[in-house]
């Protein structure tokens, strides 16, 4: 393959001059610049990434660790991945995607071997095992997702607390007094998926303040289980006039379930989901929802990592924890509650 020596020879300059002419890190005469450019063009020269990485200790690659759990909603993850990839490219970085189950070993491997200049972690758990590794790494890291300990990394996440409040307040304002919150499977919580309980706890607190009876429960993330569960819940709680769904699969199943029961939103039930606008458009979801903000969060994480990589002064700036305020996208699926049914218990 053609290397910088070939370019230098053809341009009639030294290798260092060719290098400087290309990088612009040292002034070069217009004549030299033209000859080097011509040689590059003629020979089809592209710098060898490995050699450059070795010489500069920079790879211009960002490591992206995404974990896919059987019981979580994979397509949602895709939006974060795309946001990270696209933002990285805008900033001149490529993305090394790691989807291994045990992100721990993979993370150590790509940081220790210096394959990447920085790291973005997706789907971060409360007590994420990857965090100690990331803190030890020489490269800066940013998370999408809020762990228990944010030391040594930049953290970005939706404010699930505000999301929980927002959903309850919205229904309370409309006059609902019996509301059901359907969350991700309990197993997600056990694994440390803090966003589930963060939203739920905030919703519970808001409900208490607003005098709303809030039932909380979990649902599966696959059919046919989730459809059956929704039927069971609506059977068991006829008094419920408002439904909050923090579970994409449940949201996807809900239209069928409601149709089967002859129910319409908001006539018979006010519904608010928590999912992305993209998801709603693709999957025909007619419910108002709190937007995931995947694009924004992914972009923020990358920008902060790149800043710490490139701006020497930024290396030692204090780490940030930014919780993005949720936005409710109104699709008209909420309204005043229907005629009140006598509460079945509670």
């Amino acid at each position: 393959m053609v290397n910088i020596g070939d370019v230098a020879r053809m341009a009639g300059v030294s290798r260092s001059t060719a290098s400087y002419a290309l990088s612009g890190k040292r002034p070069t005469s217009p004549d030299v610049q033209a000859r080097v450019a011509a040689a590059v063009q003629e020979l089809g020269y592209t710098p060898n990434a490995g050699a450059r990485a070795l010489a500069t200790a920079q790879t211009r690659v960002i490591g992206l660790l995404a974990q896919f759990y059987e019981d979580e909603f994979a397509p949602a993850m895709l939006q974060y991945i795309l946001a990270v990839s696209n933002t990285a490219r805008e900033l001149g970085y490529d993305v090394l995607l790691v989807t291994e189950e045990s992100g721990v070993q993979a993370l150590r491997r790509i940081t220790d071997s210096r394959m990447v200049d920085g790291i973005v972690l997706l789907n971060v758990a409360e007590d994420d095992q990857r965090l100690p590794v990331l803190r030890d790494a020489a490269q800066p890291g940013a998370l999408v997702g809020l762990p228990g300990d944010c030391t040594g990394v930049d953290v970005f996440d939706l404010s699930f607390e505000e999301a929980g409040r927002l959903m309850v307040d919205h229904l309370a304002d409309l006059g609902h007094r019996d509301v059901l919150l359907v969350s991700q499977p309990e197993h997600v919580i056990e694994r440390g998926g803090a966003y589930v309980w963060r939203l739920q706890n905030a919703a519970v607190a808001a409900a208490a303040e607003r005098g709303v009876r809030l039932l909380t429960t979990f649902a599966s993330t696959h059919q046919p289980e989730v459809g059956a569960e929704l039927h069971g819940l609506l059977d068991a709680h006829p008094e419920v006039t408002g439904l909050l769904v923090h579970n994409e699969a449940a949201v996807a199943a809900l239209p069928s379930v409601m149709h089967a029961r002859g129910m319409e939103a908001p006539r018979d039930l006010s519904v608010i989901g928590r999912y992305s606008d993209e998801f709603a458009r693709t999957f025909s979801l007619p419910y108002s929802s709190v937007e995931s903000a995947a694009d924004l969060l992914g972009a923020m994480a990358v920008r902060h990592v790149v800043r710490r990589i490139e701006v020497a002064a930024a290396r030692d700036e204090p780490y940030v924890v930014e919780l993005v305020a949720p936005r409710l996208v109104d699709r008209g699926s909420t309204g005043v509650p229907p005629h009140v049914v006598p509460a079945a218990g509670a």
Copy 2:
């Protein structure tokens, strides 16, 4: 950072011996092996990937080019990405993910700079602009998707021809004589999405053979358009007793549409989709379908690329084009047609 010189010093051997002890490419005494291993452990040594790549001309990274079009179904792409990523890791490779719109420049960049040892292209178009670049590249490449010209690359795809036949035959066997095929948006075809017309043409041919009247049409990939279009189609063609859907968004919208019309599958309409089992499970889709085989295709592509990378003799083996036979997953959404309605025309 600790390098192999540090390891060698601590183990009391030369750098070459340390290297050989680690790689096993030359016999080393058990004593040396133990001392080197201990030093590696003690110092936490990991080889520098850039240096190794420079020395060996191998990066152990595979480039994965995925294109996301506004009018295609992004979650389907995720399954291919995961299949490629997981298979690559099994074989000891990392994945550089490129999601740029113009894959052409990106492909040239990562191949010319030797960032990758091989390439997998997803979502390949009939006249894919990335193919000339890939053929020129020094690295081997595999495609998921069938282009017009398969020269110089290994090609893997679902046999959309057999899929089209299979769908029509299945309904014809049940006695259906009026069938509607809803495909991806026409724009996908214009862009060179050959799978659309490959399935459609085969379906048309099979229908002619079987004496089935097959209407073919396109639908959008987003709401609310696609729902309205389905209603319009079912309004316009009451004679249709079988529906074939080669469009994930349409499939996702169909349960609502059918419920709204008081229709049930297979009672009023026999339905076969073309999507993955994973998609069906996640999105509550009750229709029999021809499986996408994303896992299989992604894995095949990676295995073939890696083989050409690693097995010198494989470099010059003839290129392959493998079309995987489709598999119909029966979810009970097809049956004998209901009482025949007089055909409205055609």
